[in-house]
């Protein structure tokens, strides 16, 4: 078959899957990460209030999609390296450094991992930034990123409605409406919408319950 054989269908029997809708968006003051909260094993919802937004450093977070075990392990390792970096360099790492760590782990272990990660953060050098690291271990710096099984439904919507340098409220509204559609059409996404806002003044967490986002567009 003269090609690279990649077994992308290797979620083992009974493995917990984050069939997900996740996104991260840069805006005027920084960046916002968003995710649904559904974890599934087959057709069973193993957790309906999952937190797929994981902190890896002071002002750097990630959105996880794919295998729950793989993405948690990768995030834990990145978190460890960033802690070591802070201790040794005496300064906070940039979002780019964190994203590169994710990328290296995902690329070097691509035959063992099912992990689609969006790394986003705020640092003084670059402000808010978003890096998408899809399954093979490539890295893409973007103004905004969407990923997970639910994201396929909102490529068009996001492409039409994203604008650079939106205000905080505009961005929240954009993400809420985008994720609402992803959750609506994707069976493996659902529950609440969680968000993390990263700006120079620190971080803020938001939760939107179904009655707050259903029919938001």
């Amino acid at each position: 078959m003269n090609g690279i054989s990649v077994d992308i269908n290797h979620l083992k029997k009974g493995e917990v899957n984050l069939g997900t809708s996740i996104m991260a968006v840069t805006f005027a003051d920084g960046v916002i990460l968003g995710a649904d909260s559904r974890t599934t094993t087959g057709s069973y919802i193993a957790n309906r209030v999952t937190d797929k937004l994981t902190q890896v450093n002071e002002n750097i977070w990630c959105c996880r999609s794919g295998s729950a075990a793989d993405t948690q392990a990768v995030a834990d390792i990145v978190k460890y390296h960033l802690e070591m970096y802070t201790a040794q360099q005496g300064e906070q790492p940039t979002t780019k450094i964190a994203a590169s760590l994710f990328q290296e782990l995902c690329y070097n272990n691509k035959d063992a991992l099912t992990a689609g990660i969006i790394c986003a953060g705020y640092d003084k050098r670059s402000g808010g930034s978003v890096y998408s690291i899809p399954i093979g271990g490539s890295i893409h710096k973007q103004e905004y990123a969407i990923a997970g099984s639910g994201s396929t439904y909102i490529y068009g919507y996001c492409n039409k409605n994203f604008r650079p340098n939106m205000s905080k409220d505009e961005t929240i509204d954009f993400m809420k409406k985008s994720l609402a559609q992803a959750i609506k059409w994707d069976g493996s996404s659902g529950g609440v919408i969680r968000m993390v806002i990263l700006t120079k003044s620190g971080m803020e967490r938001l939760v939107f319950y179904p009655h707050n986002y259903v029919d938001s567009e």
Partner: protein, 266 residues
């Protein structure tokens, strides 16, 4: 070499491919639950262990102690839940001795998830980890592949759907200890009655902040066997005698010993 031995893996794959049966592990086709309350956390389990459709143990213990105030309930492969629990329990004790601090639930959880992730799901342990430590009371679950979840209530095992139905309908935020114990045992009973992989009794463990953990072994026993209709005592002489041999086991011999002064080396 440290770790598990995989030396028979290839041989077994070969045997299985040739149509030979693979050995069946005892699975705790189980219902286990956990639930937080105001001042602590409760975990509970049924007590049936199965091997295929056969009940291997009617009253097994699925509640394991990781440390005096951190307990976990195990589902999945019985041997794996027991061994992984014993290993982490040891390491937790060594860790707490070297740090001179009471062990924390997150520490146990991290050790478990890293160990299970390393074995990529081949160690079939599904655990609900709960306990109290200097940071408060905690409740987590770990899956065999190494992923973890956090929540106010958890259920795992083949009866987890039946149990979760009860938890989702009756859980509320201001449960007290008695309420949490009742909720957990109701959830386990849902598994006992409606899931064929679960049965027999309810074991329960309560961990309260500032108190010793209390294990209620066989908290409920709703499945006591009724009296049999007949007695099956065999009359003496029912067993066939195929051969009869009588051995003389003790031979008594008498010997007179002349008592002279013994020679002792100088």
């Amino acid at each position: 070499m440290a770790g598990l031995s995989f030396e028979n893996y290839q041989r077994n794959q070969f045997l299985a491919a040739k149509g030979h049966g693979v050995p069946k592990a005892t699975s705790t086709g189980t219902t286990i639950v956990g639930c937080k309350f105001k001042g602590g956390v409760v975990i509970a389990a049924d007590t049936r262990a199965t091997s295929g459709p056969i009940v291997a143990d009617k009253n097994c213990e699925k509640l394991h102690r990781l440390s005096p105030k951190i307990w976990c309930a195990g589902a999945g492969t019985a041997a794996d839940t027991e061994m992984v629990t014993a290993l982490i329990s040891s390491n937790l004790e060594l860790h707490s001795m070297s740090t001179s601090r009471a062990p924390r639930v997150v520490t146990a959880l991290t050790m478990l998830k890293q160990h299970l992730f390393k074995y990529q799901g081949h160690i079939g342990a599904y655990l609900i980890v709960a306990g109290v430590d200097p940071t408060g009371s905690h409740l987590f679950s770990v899956q065999a592949h190494g992923s973890t979840d956090i929540g106010f209530y958890q259920s795992l095992g083949s009866g987890s759907l039946a149990a979760m139905a009860v938890l989702e309908s009756n859980w509320h935020e201001d449960l007290d200890k008695e309420g949490a114990m009742k909720l957990c045992s109701d959830a386990i009973q849902a598994g006992i009655w409606n899931d064929l992989g679960s049965g027999s009794n309810v074991d329960l463990c309560v961990m309260e902040v500032g108190k010793d953990a209390v294990l209620y072994r066989n908290h409920l026993t709703p499945n006591v066997r009724e009296q049999k209709a007949s007695s099956y005592k065999f009359a003496r002489g029912t067993t066939a005698i195929l051969k009869e041999d009588i051995f003389k086991l003790i031979d008594v011999e008498e010997e007179t010993i002349h008592s002279e002064a013994m020679e002792v080396d100088a």
